[in-house]
Symmetry: C2
Subunit: 878 residues, 2 copies
C-alpha cells in the first residue's frame, strides 16, 4: 500500500509533529478544538525527505496525493482552484518539527491568475485589493520559487510611482497595480524564459518544491546548527485557504502572546497591522499597533481573540504565540505554538504556572530552555551608570542584555571586525535572515523598524543576543552609512550603548556589568532542577575568582582546575620559564621551589571557595613550548636569570618545538620525564588542603589529584606512585590522616579502550572531551576550521563536534570507558570536564551513560544544572 504523504487538518493532532511539523500538528489541533482555522492540508516531513532522496524531485505518488487533497480541500471550503465563481486562493507555508522562524519560504495568494483576479475584483467590489494581491503573488512567487530578485520588481514600482508623481504604494490605484502586474509578468518571462504559470496546480507544485528546497538554504542550515535541529528531519508543507488581512479597514493581520514574551508577565499581549498581510507584520516594514486599539473598533474580535488565547494556553499548558488574520471583520487563526520567550520570561511563566496549578515542577523545569539562561547571566547596565548616561532614544526591548560597541552597518562588517577582536553593535533599518552571522558576532542589534516579533527580535532572543528593535526615531542617511538619533549623527566606528531589557539607547560607551541571577523565579526553577537531577554539577575554575563565581551559581565542586593557567599572573611565569630551560634535575627543582608556595596559595583559595566540596586539580598539561618567551627582551631576561647565554636559551627553546605539539611532550609525559614537577604539584595540593582543613575542622576535604593525558595503565601507575609517595610523606609529617584521591582524565582514545586496566590505578575518571574529540576524529582543534565549513556545506557534519558531543563516535568510546571502568572499580566516580560539560544535549548524553558529574565554566553552571534535571526527567520517562 502506498504511504500516506498528505493529511487534512481534520486528520491530524498535536502529537503528530514529527510527521506534520509543529505548524501542521497545531493547525490540526486547533481544528479539532473547533477554532476558526482556514482549512487545508499538510504534506508530511517524510515527503520532504523523499524529495531529497529522489534527487530533489517530487515523485508521482506524492503528486497524486497532493492532487487528491486539493480536491478534498475544494470540497471542504466550497471554493475551487481557478473557479470563475468562487476561486480558491491558498498560502503555502513551511513547518518543521521544531520552529525555525523566518528561515524557510512562504508563498501567499497562490491560485491567482488573470481570470481569477478579475473574478475577485468583481466579487469583492475591491479591484485595488485584487490587483494588489496579484502583483504581490507574482513578486513573491518569482522571488521565492524562481529566484528572480525582488528588487527587479521594486524598480518597476518606483518607476510607476514616479510616472504617477506619487510617494507611496498606497497612492497607486487598481489600474496602476494591474499595469504593474502585467509588467511583472513580462519581467518574469524575460528572466525565466517562460510565461508566468496560470494554472494554480502548477503554481502549487512549484511552491511546494520551493519550500522543500528552502529546508536546505544556507540560513536554515546555520539556524539548525545553532539549535541542534537535525538535517534529516525535513520540513512539512502546509497548504491553507487564504484569509485576507488586506481587504480594507476591517481587515488586518497580527500576532498574539498569551503572556508577555519579554517579561513573562501573565498578561495578554498582541500586535496588529490593519489592512495588511502577515508578511507585512513579520518583515517589520510598518510598525504594528497594540491590540488594545481595536478593542474600540472591533470589540467582538478582541473578545474572541482573548477567549481563544485562554483556551489555547489552557489546552497546551504553556504560553502560546498565535498568528491571526481578520478578514473583513471575521477572525481566522493561522498558527499557534508554544511561544518563544526570553529566559526571564520562561522562568517567570514556569514559576507562575506551577503556582497557578497549571503544571507540575517537572513540567516547569522542562519548559525552560537551558541555553537561554545565558541571557540572564549576561550583562546589564547598573542603575548608577544609567543615571549619568545620555539617553538618545528608545526602541522596543526586544531581547534582554546590555550592549556597547562600535557601530557597524552590515553583517559582513560585524563579522569581520569581531574576528579582529573589536566589540561592535549592528545597527540596521531592519534585519533579514542573511544577517544571522553578523548578528551573532555583534554585541547587540539595534533596528529602526519592526516589532517584538520582527526578524531581529525573534532571532536575537533565540540566540540570547541583546536587541533593541523598532526605534523609529533613527533616521538613516541615504547611503545608509550614518544615521541621526537624538539630534546627533552617528557614523561607522562611533560608539553607542543600549539595553535590550528597557529599549533605552545611550550615547557613548557604558560599562556592562556581568549578569546577575538574583531572581525568585530563577531561584525556584533552579531549586526544583536541583531536586530532580541526579548528576552533580561542578565547575572548571582555574582561579579563586572563577571558583567564587561558580559557587554563587551553584557549582558543587571543582571538576577541573588547569594548574598551568595559574602561571600567567604577575611574575610567576619567570620561575616557570626558569624551570623549563633547566638542564639538570637540581636546576629544575630550584625553579619549582619558587613556584610551590604560589600554587599552594592558589589551591588554598580554591579549597576555601568550595567549602569542603570536591576539588579536582589537574597536573600540568600543555607542552612546555607554550610557555617560553617569544620576544628578545624576555629571552635575555631569562638567560640572565639562568646564567646562560642568549644563544643557549634560544637553542633550548628551539629544541622544544614540535611538529604536532598536541600529540607531543605534554600531559603525564612531563612528569614521566621530569618527576619533580609532579612532586612539587603534589606538595602544593596536599599542603593547601591540610591548611584549609585545619582552619575548617567541620569540613571534610578530600583533594583529587588528576593526571592528564594518560593512555597506558603504566603511565598512570608511574605518576600515581610519585603522587602517593609524596602525599603520604607530607601527611605523615603533618600527622594527618586526611584522605585524597588520585585519578585521571580520559582524553586519549587508548585510555578509553583500556579503561579497565587504567581503573586499577585511577580512583576517578574525568572525560576530557576536547582532546578526546581531537584524537578520535584526528581533527586538530586549531586547524579544523580550515575544512569544517566544507564539512557543513556537504552535510558531512551538522555540528561542530568540539561544541556538541559526537555521540556516535566519541560517545561510543565514553560508554565503553564507563563500562570498563566500573568493571574494575564499581564505585569509581566518573565525570566530564570538556567544553561539552555545559552543552545541554551533551549533558543529556552524559546522564544517559551514567556519569556522576559534569563540570563546566562558571557561567554555564546554571545551564548544566537545568540540563541535568531535564535529562533526569527524560531518562526516567524511558
Amino acid at each position: 500500500m502506498a504511504r500516506k504523504w498528505v493529511y487534512l487538518f481534520t486528520e491530524g493532532n498535536k502529537d503528530m509533529r514529527e510527521l506534520l511539523g509543529g505548524k501542521g500538528a497545531n493547525l490540526a489541533e486547533m481544528t479539532n478544538l473547533g477554532l476558526p482555522v482556514p482549512q487545508g492540508f499538510t504534506i508530511t516531513t517524510e515527503a520532504c525527505t523523499q524529495y531529497y532522496e529522489d534527487g530533489r524531485q517530487i515523485n508521482d505518488e506524492i503528486r497524486g496525493q497532493i492532487a487528491e487533497y486539493i480536491g478534498k480541500m475544494e470540497e471542504i471550503t466550497g471554493k475551487k482552484f481557478a473557479s470563475k465563481e468562487n476561486p480558491l486562493l491558498v498560502s503555502v507555508r513551511s513547518g518543521a518539527r521544531a520552529s525555525m522562524p523566518g528561515m524557510m519560504d512562504t508563498i501567499l495568494n497562490l491560485g491567482l491568475n488573470e481570470e481569477v483576479v478579475e473574478t475577485l475584483a468583481a466579487k469583492s467590489n475591491n479591484p485595488r485589493w485584487a490587483w494588489d494581491c496579484y502583483r504581490r503573488f507574482i513578486q513573491m512567487f518569482s522571488d521565492v520559487v524562481m529566484e528572480v530578485s525582488k528588487s527587479e520588481f521594486e524598480k518597476l514600482i518606483d518607476a510607476k510611482k514616479a510616472e504617477k508623481g506619487v510617494q507611496n504604494d498606497v497612492d497607486l490605484d487598481a489600474e496602476d497595480l494591474k499595469d504593474l502586474a502585467n509588467q511583472f509578468k513580462a519581467k518574469y518571462k524575460d528572466a525565466i524564459g517562460k510565461d508566468f504559470p496560470d494554472d494554480p496546480k502548477v503554481q502549487l507544485i512549484e511552491a511546494v518544491k520551493a519550500v522543500f528546497r528552502s529546508w536546505d538554504n544556507p540560513r536554515a542550515n546555520v539556524y539548525r546548527r545553532d539549535n541542534d535541529i537535525p538535517y534529516s528531519w525535513g520540513t512539512a508543507v502546509n497548504v491553507q485557504m487564504m484569509a485576507f488581512g488586506n481587504m480594507g479597514p476591517t481587515s488586518g493581520s497580527g500576532v498574539a502572546f498569551t503572556r508577555d514574551p519579554a517579561t513573562g508577565e501573565n498578561k495578554f499581549y498582541a500586535e496588529v497591522l490593519m489592512n495588511a498581510q502577515g508578511e507585512d507584520v513579520v518583515s517589520g516594514v510598518r510598525t504594528p499597533m497594540k491590540i488594545e486599539e481595536i478593542k474600540k473598533t472591533l470589540p467582538e474580535i478582541y473578545d474572541e481573540l482573548i477567549d481563544i488565547a485562554n483556551k489555547l494556553e489552557d489546552h497546551y499548558r504553556d504560553m502560546q504565540d498565535m498568528e491571526f488574520t481578520i478578514e473583513d471583520g471575521k477572525l481566522y487563526m493561522l498558527q499557534c505554538r508554544n511561544g518563544k520567550r526570553t529566559a526571564k520570561a520562561a522562568l517567570k511563566i514556569a514559576h507562575d504556572m506551577v503556582n497557578e496549578g497549571m503544571i507540575d515542577k517537572k513540567q516547569a523545569v522542562l519548559s525552560v530552555e537551558p541555553r537561554n539562561l545565558d541571557t540572564l547571566l549576561h550583562g546589564s547596565f547598573s542603575k548608577d551608570t544609567v543615571k549619568k548616561a545620555t539617553q538618545v532614544g528608545k526602541g522596543l526591548p526586544a531581547a534582554p542584555g546590555a550592549a556597547c560597541g562600535k557601530i557597524v552597518f552590515t553583517a559582513e562588517e560585524a563579522k569581520k571586525q569581531a574576528q579582529n577582536g573589536e566589540k561592535v553593535v549592528l545597527v540596521r533599518r531592519e534585519t533579514s535572515p542573511e544577517d544571522i552571522e553578523g548578528m551573532k558576532a555583534a554585541q547587540g542589534i539595534l533596528t529602526a523598524r519592526g516589532g517584538m516579533t520582527s526578524h531581529a527580535a525573534v532571532v536575537a532572543r533565540g540566540m540570547g543576543a541583546c536587541c533593541v528593535a523598532g526605534c523609529s526615531d533613527i533616521v538613516f542617511a541615504e547611503d545608509e552609512k550614518s544615521f541621526t538619533l537624538g539630534g546627533k549623527t552617528y557614523k561607522e566606528g562611533d560608539v553607542i550603548s543600549f539595553d535590550g531589557s528597557t529599549g533605552n539607547i545611550y550615547d557613548g560607551a557604558l560599562p556592562v556589568q556581568e549578569g546577575a541571577v538574583e531572581d525568585d523565579d530563577f531561584a525556584a526553577i533552579m531549586e526544583w532542577a536541583d531536586e530532580i537531577r541526579t548528576m552533580q554539577v561542578r565547575t572548571n575554575a582555574d582561579t579563586p575568582t572563577d571558583a567564587k563565581k561558580a559557587r554563587e551559581l551553584g557549582a558543587q565542586g571543582i571538576g577541573l582546575c588547569r594548574t598551568e593557567h595559574m602561571f600567567f599572573s604577575g611574575n610567576r611565569i619567570d620561575a616557570f620559564r626558569e624551570m623549563i630551560v633547566s638542564d639538570t634535575k637540581e636546576e629544575r627543582e630550584a625553579a619549582l621551589d619558587k613556584i610551590l608556595p604560589l600554587q599552594q596559595g592558589d589551591f588554598e583559595q580554591l579549597f576555601e571557595a568550595m567549602e569542603g566540596d570536591p576539588v579536582t586539580i589537574r597536573f600540568l598539561d600543555p607542552p612546555l613550548h607554550e610557555f617560553v618567551p617569544k620576544d628578545e627582551e624576555d629571552i635575555e631576561k631569562l638567560a640572565k636569570a639562568k646564567g646562560k647565554t642568549v644563544e643557549q636559551v634560544k637553542g633550548i627553546i628551539a629544541g622544544l618545538k614540535e611538529a604536532n605539539p598536541m600529540m607531543g611532550h605534554r600531559g603525564c609525559r612531563l612528569p614521566i620525564t621530569y618527576p619533580e614537577i609532579a612532586v612539587m604539584q603534589t606538595k602544593a595540593v596536599i599542603r593547601a588542603a591540610l591548611n584549609v582543613q585545619k582552619k575548617h575542622p567541620d569540613w571534610t576535604i578530600v583533594p583529587e589529584l588528576e593526571v592528564p593525558l594518560v593512555g597506558i595503565d603504566k603511565e598512570m601507575a608511574f605518576v600515581k606512585n610519585i603522587i602517593v609517595e609524596t602525599a603520604d610523606a607530607e601527611l605523615k609529617a603533618a600527622g594527618s590522616d586526611m584522605k585524597y584521591k588520585v585519578g585521571t582524565m580520559i582524553e586519549i582514545p587508548r585510555a578509553a579502550i583500556t579503561a579497565d586496566e587504567i581503573a586499577k590505578e585511577a580512583e576517578f575518571f574525568c572525560f576530557g572531551t576536547n582532546d578526546l574529540t581531537q584524537m578520535t576524529f584526528g581533527f586538530s582543534r586549531d586547524d579544523a576550521g580550515k575544512f569544517l565549513d566544507a564539512y557543513y556545506d556537504k552535510k558531512i557534519l551538522e555540528n561542530d563536534p568540539f561544541a556538541k558531543l559526537d555521540q556516535d563516535g566519541v560517545g561510543k568510546l565514553m560508554k565503553l570507558a564507563v563500562k570498563l571502568g566500573h568493571e574494575t572499580r564499581p564505585d569509581i566516580s566518573i565525570g566530564i570536564c570538556g567544553e561539552h560539560g555545559g552543552d545541554p544535549s551533551s549533558v543529556e548524553f552524559c546522564n544517559s551513560i551514567g556519569l556522576d558529574y559534569v563540570s563546566c565554566s562558571p557561567y554555564r553552571v546554571p545551564i548544566a544544572r537545568l540540563a541535568a534535571a531535564q535529562a533526569a526527567i527524560k531518562q526516567s520517562r524511558k
Copy 2:
C-alpha cells in the same frame, strides 16, 4: 600450600622452559637423558618475578626452599658447603625463557672461603689452582654482586706482577695468588665496609639476588626490546656443582655446535680452551683451539662429545649449541640449547633436516627467525669487522642493511657525487619528501631526529636502503656543515659506516658484505611457507621499480601505493605546486590536467608489474604544505608560472601552515574541499587499468581505489560518490564492464569504532596502523622520540608501538573494526599496510584477528611470507 620455587635438575624437563628458563629446562632434560651433567637445582622464573614484586627482596619462603635444596644437592653430589672434607663449589647462572647470551650475570666458584681453599689445595695437590679459583671468585663476586669494579682488582694484579717482575698471570705462583686473594678481600672491605662473606649460603643468596637484579640491567633491557622478550618473564637461576676446567692440562672448557652456525653445513664444530674456565672462552681473552686437536690427546673425550652431540640433535631435532667442561679427563655437559645461527645457516639447516627426514616442512618453517632474513636481503658487516670497529654512536635501526661512505649533508650533493661514482651517505637532521632522490643515490641515510616511522625510515625501508634514524647524540653545527658524534667532529667528505639492523654507527670505512637470496634453501623454505600460510602478502610500492622488486620477492599484489610519492621525480613537483597555490577550481583543474597523464603512466606500470593481481591505490594523503617550495628560487619560479607575485605565493604558503598538520587538512579532507583532486586521480587509475587490461586480455584487473583518513561514514560516501561518478563515466566512454572497488584506510580511531557504518560504503578496509597508532596513543610520530626513551627506562613501554603493534590498545580497535566491518559486509576484504605489516609479531596478530592480507615494503615481503606461515601454524595448533 606453598608454591614450589625450586626444582632439582631431576625434577624438570625440556617442556618446562617458562618456569625453569631455557638453560634450566635443558639441564633437566640432559639429566633425564643420562648425560654427564653436574647436578644442582633451578630457582624458577616465578621467584624472579616475586623478587621484583616484593620490592627487590627474596622472601622467606623462597629462601627456605633454596636452603632445603642446598641440602638435597649436597646429598646428591656427596659434597657439602664449607666442608673440610669434600667442599661443594657451585656456579650460579641466569637462564631466561629465551636465550639472552651475555646479557645477565654469572658467578663461578661460589662456596670458597679461606678454609675451603686450603682443603681444595690439599686434596687436589694443586694449591695454585685452588688459590686461583679463590681470587677469581672474590673478583667476580665483588664485581657482579657488589658492583666493586673489576679494574680495582686488575690494578692489584698488575702491582703484584711488577713486584715479581713477571709479565703474565700464569707466572704468578700459589703464594702470589694467596697474597692477592687477601689483598682482594681487604679491597672489598674497603669498598663495601664489611668483611667478604665466608658463609657459602650467604654468598649464594647474594649471588641469586645479583642474577635477579641483572634481569633489569640496561643491556638486558635493550636486548629484550630488540628481541621482543617481555620484561614480565623474569629469569630463572641455575645453581650447579662446579666442574673445573682449570685443573691442569687434562682439563678445559669449550663450546660445540652440531652444525656450522655460520654456513649451516652439517658438520660438527667445537672449540676448546685447555686449563681454563668457561668465562675465559666467552671473554675471548685467549684463542681457543679446534676440538680436533684433542682427538689425539683425549680421544675418549672427543668420541663421547661427538656421541652426545648426535644424541642431542636427534633428541631436539634442531642444531644444538653446547657448553662443556673437561675436569681432569672427565667430560661434563653444562648447557645445551638450539643454537643461534645466521639466516643463511638457518635456511640450510631447515632445508637439510627436512631432506634428512628429521623434521617436517612446518617445523622447518618454524625454525627460521623471520627477522633474520633481513641480513640476507641487505648488505651487512661481518662479526669480525664489527669487533675491530670503533663505535661512535647508536640510533634507531630504521631500515636494515650496512652503509659506508663519504658524508654529504644535502640531497643535491648526494645525487651529484653519486653521479660521479662516489659512495656517499646522507646525514641530515631529518629528511623531507624533497630529499627522495638524494636518499636513493646514497648508500645509506643517517638522521638525528625521527622515529621508526619517520619519513627517512619509511622511505628507506620502501627503497631497500639502509637507514639509522633518530641518533639524538648527533649535534649539528649551526650551518649544518658538520656534526659531532662520539667526541669527534665529522665534516663533508669524512667517512663513516652504519648498520641499519642494529642502529650502530662506526667511525671510518667498514667493508660491506652483499646480501644474496638466490639460494635453493631460501627458495625451498619460502615455497613451504607459501603452501602453509593463509594470509596474502602484498607490498607497499609507490613506483614501478619498487613494484618489480616486490614481485621478485613474492608480493601477491600492491596493498598500498602512496600516490603523493610519485610527485617528486623530475619536474612533476612543478605542476603539483601549481595545483596547490591555485585560487580557483579552474586553476586547480588546469594544473591537475598536467599531472593526470603522469600518474596514469605510473599506474600502468604498477598494473603491468602485478600481472592482474590486486593493486590498491591510495588517494593523495599528506597536508599540502609538505609540497610547497622552501627556497626563494623555487618560490619565484612558482610565482612566475602562476602569474602571481612572490608575496602572494608566500602568503598562500603561509596560509597552509598548520599547528598540528598530522590532524589537519589532509587525507579525505582534501577531496572534500577540492573534489577535482579525486576526479583526476580516479581518471588516472581507471584509464591506466583499462589500457593494461586491453594489452593483457587474459588478466582480470580490478583496481582498488582507496580513500585515506576517513573517520565519518559520510566522508566516505562523499568521496566514493565522486569516484563512482567519474569511474563509471570513464568506463562507459570506453565501453568497458571492468569492475573496480572503492575502500578506505582504517587509520582514525573513529573509523574503527564506527566501522559498521563505514562498511556500508567501503568495499574494503586497510588498517593504516602508523596513523592509527599515532591517534590512539596521541603520540606524534615526529615528536614521540623526545619522551619514548623515558618510557622505556621506566618500563612504561617495552617496545616502540610504531614498530611493534600495540595489541592491547590499537589491536583492540582493530579487532572491533574487523568485527563491525564483517557485520555489515560479510565478504569485506581487510588488510594492513602500516609499517607493522612487515613485523613478525604484528603479522601473527593480524593472522589471529582474521585479516586477509598484510602489505609491507618490498624488502620485507619474504619476512612477512615466513611470518604469515608461522602464524598459520601456531593458529592451527590453538
